[in-house]
């Protein structure tokens, strides 16, 4: 009984962390599922979303005179909500720009797309360094979600729970979008057989642009939610892109629930190993990947994909 009580906080922590990991993987999953493209710039778009949000929440508006004063006087919570809506839209624009560059690589080997996004990741990261500096920064968060509470002799941070619930909310929204709207149906059809979808009169070029923009904005949202926990620095993207694709591979490429379940699994593994061998907690997820992929080549719920050729 004592053992279970001791494990409970780690279980809660692991679940919360897992939902966050799943949120990170969502945008990545959408792009890899529909376009069969490993987007290594995912992490940089994540960082970009967070930087955009920080600038919107706490901008340097000295040029704008009275408007700047008026805006700075608005309550923090309101500015935060504005950032949560506006920053992902900006990231989506960047993502769409990237997609337009990517078009030349369609029809070639998948490695070309992967390498191009690697170059893009480097470029975005350096641009962040030029614009916002290399130092670690703090994203302001509203009072309503900061602070901590006590439960069962343990301290829990409010923000972690807010973030976990937000992640759950986003997972449900994306699922509803994919399953219950005609756009979602088209996107899923595009992932299944793009040739046929084009033959049915869908503008595949526009569909890909939309999917890439959507995926990019999801990475931006993940960045806004997660950087208050992980810290905001230009190379945060690298720390993020690897868990993201790890989760996709464990869950299986092209499977929505695979990604969510794998995210929760990774969260639990990291939390439990963190409790006992904290030094090595981040490595446990790679071991999980190696074990899963050794026994199930395509991940837990993966289907055959063109990426294997």
């Amino acid at each position: 009984m004592d053992v279970i009580l001791n494990l409970l906080p780690h279980l809660v922590n692991g679940l919360a962390l897992g939902l966050l990991f799943a949120l990170i993987a969502l945008g990545f999953m959408l792009i890899v599922g529909v376009m069969e493209l490993i987007n290594l710039a995912h992490g940089s778009l994540f960082a970009l979303g967070a930087y955009f949000a920080m600038s919107i929440i706490d901008p340097n508006l000295s040029y704008f005179g009275s408007f700047g004063d008026w805006y700075s006087a608005l309550p923090l919570a309101l500015r935060y909500v504005v950032a949560l809506a506006l920053a992902p839209a900006l990231v989506a624009l960047v993502g769409m720009g990237l997609e337009i560059c990517m078009r030349r690589t369609y029809g070639k080997k998948a490695e070309y797309g992967l390498l191009l996004t690697y170059g893009a990741a480097l470029v975005i990261e350096e641009t962040i360094r030029i614009t916002w500096g290399s130092a670690e920064q703090v994203m302001p968060i509203p009072d309503a979600v900061s602070g901590a509470f006590f439960a069962g002799g343990m301290i829990y941070s409010n923000y972690r729970f807010y973030a976990a619930f937000f992640a759950l909310f986003m997972i449900i929204v994306v699922w509803l979008f994919l399953e219950k709207t005609p756009y979602g149906a088209t996107i899923k059809a595009g992932a299944h057989d793009s040739e046929m979808v084009r033959a049915l009169g869908v503008n595949l070029t526009r569909l890909r642009l939309l999917v890439f923009g959507l995926g990019a904005s999801l990475s931006g949202i993940a960045g806004i939610i997660l950087t208050p926990i992980w810290g905001l620095r230009p190379h945060v993207g690298v720390d993020v892109v690897i868990p993201a694709f790890l989760i996709i591979v464990v869950g299986g490429i092209g499977s929505f629930w695979g990604a969510v379940i794998a995210g929760v699994m990774v969260g639990l593994v990291v939390a439990f190993s963190g409790a006992y061998v904290s030094e090595w907690s981040m490595m446990s997820m790679y071991l999980l990947l190696i074990v899963v992929v050794t026994f199930r080549t395509r991940g837990l719920f993966g289907k055959k994909s063109a990426l294997e050729n």
């Binding site: 490993i38 560059c101 030349r104 690589t105 070639k108 998948a110 490695e111 070309y112 992967l114 390498l115 191009l116 690697y118 170059g119 893009a120 480097l122 470029v123 990261e125 350096e126 641009t127 360094r129 030029i130 690298v238 690897i242 694709f245 790890l246 591979v249 030094e279 090595w280 981040m282 490595m283 790679y286 071991l287 990947l289 190696i290 992929v293 050794t294 080549t297 990426l307 294997e308 050729n309």
Partner: protein, 343 residues
């Protein structure tokens, strides 16, 4: 049983001799054009590393995004050997190459039946595991700081002992290693084994149907590439007088991929050589102009990927083809060029 009509591969070719002459004389002219000897050492080390890497990427078509791990393991093995076991440079280098090979061979056991993107993803995972171990195993690797007390020992060449203290001496030593590795790899890629590797790049399934043991070939080429990375890493440990986990990160592993591709590793044996030289010259040249040289290098890489994925060697080959077509059009055509020379 050799057919009398078989095309034999020359041991030396014109581009190879050109590379040897240009690089081998670097200490004589490098300083007068504003470069320095240590840059030469770095370039040579990364050329060795990139040539070994291209055996995997360019010839077999297997993209590895975690190759920095084997380079770093070579550096650690050299340093640990020097600090704890033998002081001999030879022993350290052999051990470095061996350790790189063992680590790569171990990873390759899990990798060799993967294809395409799954292969790439698994190489990243293994690269990260090794990188993590390097950072966390403080008692062995010194954690994030690495091993700092490495010194440049003396190289015993039979009766003579040569001190590697000066960058010039180290340069000639690294260059000698490069010559051996180049001749070896040139031989390998033109052997039946090398041809089979290229068959795997074209179509893994067909190579299997023809009767090659694809798994074993992928395993062996990954391991061989790890051995060369470990060798390059151990020379890097001598040059830097330390071994640290930075070279094992995903970033550093990405650099070797970028170098190999910008130079044109897909179409030419010499692509990685060009790519490594460009990388370091760009680093020094752009780095002196702007602090964010990586931004410009990244843009250059994106442009190459978009417009000429065959890299600089591809541009050169197109140029030579055009020249040939031109000279063929005019009646006074010159003697045909050696086809291997353009490779």
């Amino acid at each position: 049983m050799k057919s009398p009509f078989a095309i034999s591969t020359p041991v030396f070719t014109r581009p190879m001799l050109l590379m040897f002459v240009v690089l081998g004389t670097f200490p004589l002219w490098g300083t007068s054009v504003g470069l320095y000897n240590y840059l030469g050492v770095e370039i040579i080390i990364w050329i060795i590393y990139a040539l070994g890497f291209n055996l995997l990427l360019g010839y077999t078509g297997l993209p590895s995004f975690g190759h920095g791990a084997y380079f770093g393991i070579g550096a650690y093995a050299y340093s640990l050997c020097q600090l704890n076991v033998f002081e001999s440079v030879w022993a350290g280098i052999l051990l470095g190459a061996f350790a790189g090979g063992v680590a790569a061979g171990l990873a390759a056991c899990f990798l060799s039946h993967r294809r395409g993107i799954y292969f790439a993803l698994m190489t990243i995972a293994f690269g990260q595991v090794f990188w993590f171990i390097a950072i966390k195993w403080h008692t062995l690797t010194g954690g994030e700081d690495g091993l700092l007390n490495v010194y440049r020992g003396t190289l015993s060449l039979g009766p003579v002992d040569v001190s590697l203290k000066s960058n010039e001496a180290l340069f000639y030593f690294a260059f000698a290693v490069l010559v051996v590795i180049t001749l070896l790899l040139w031989r390998i890629v033109h052997s039946p084994y090398g041809k089979a590797l290229q068959a795997i790049r074209m179509s893994e399934m067909r190579a299997g149907f023809v009767g090659y043991n694809v798994w074993l070939m992928k395993w062996s080429v990954f391991t061989l590439s790890g051995v060369i990375a470990g060798l390059a890493g151990s020379i890097f440990a001598i040059a830097q007088e330390s071994a640290y986990p930075d070279v094992m990160s995903l970033h550093a592993s990405g650099f070797i991929v970028m170098m190999t591709l910008i130079g044109g590793g897909f179409v030419s044996f010499w692509g990685p050589v060009i790519g490594a030289i460009i990388f370091f010259v760009a680093r020094d040249f752009l780095g002196s102009l702007t602090e964010t040289w990586l931004l410009w290098y990244g843009l250059m890489f994106m442009a190459v990927m978009l417009f000429k994925p065959e890299g600089i060697a591809g541009v050169w080959q197109d140029f030579m083809k055009k020249q040939k077509a031109k000279s063929a059009a005019t009646p006074t055509s010159q003697t045909p060029k050696n086809s291997v020379a353009g490779e």
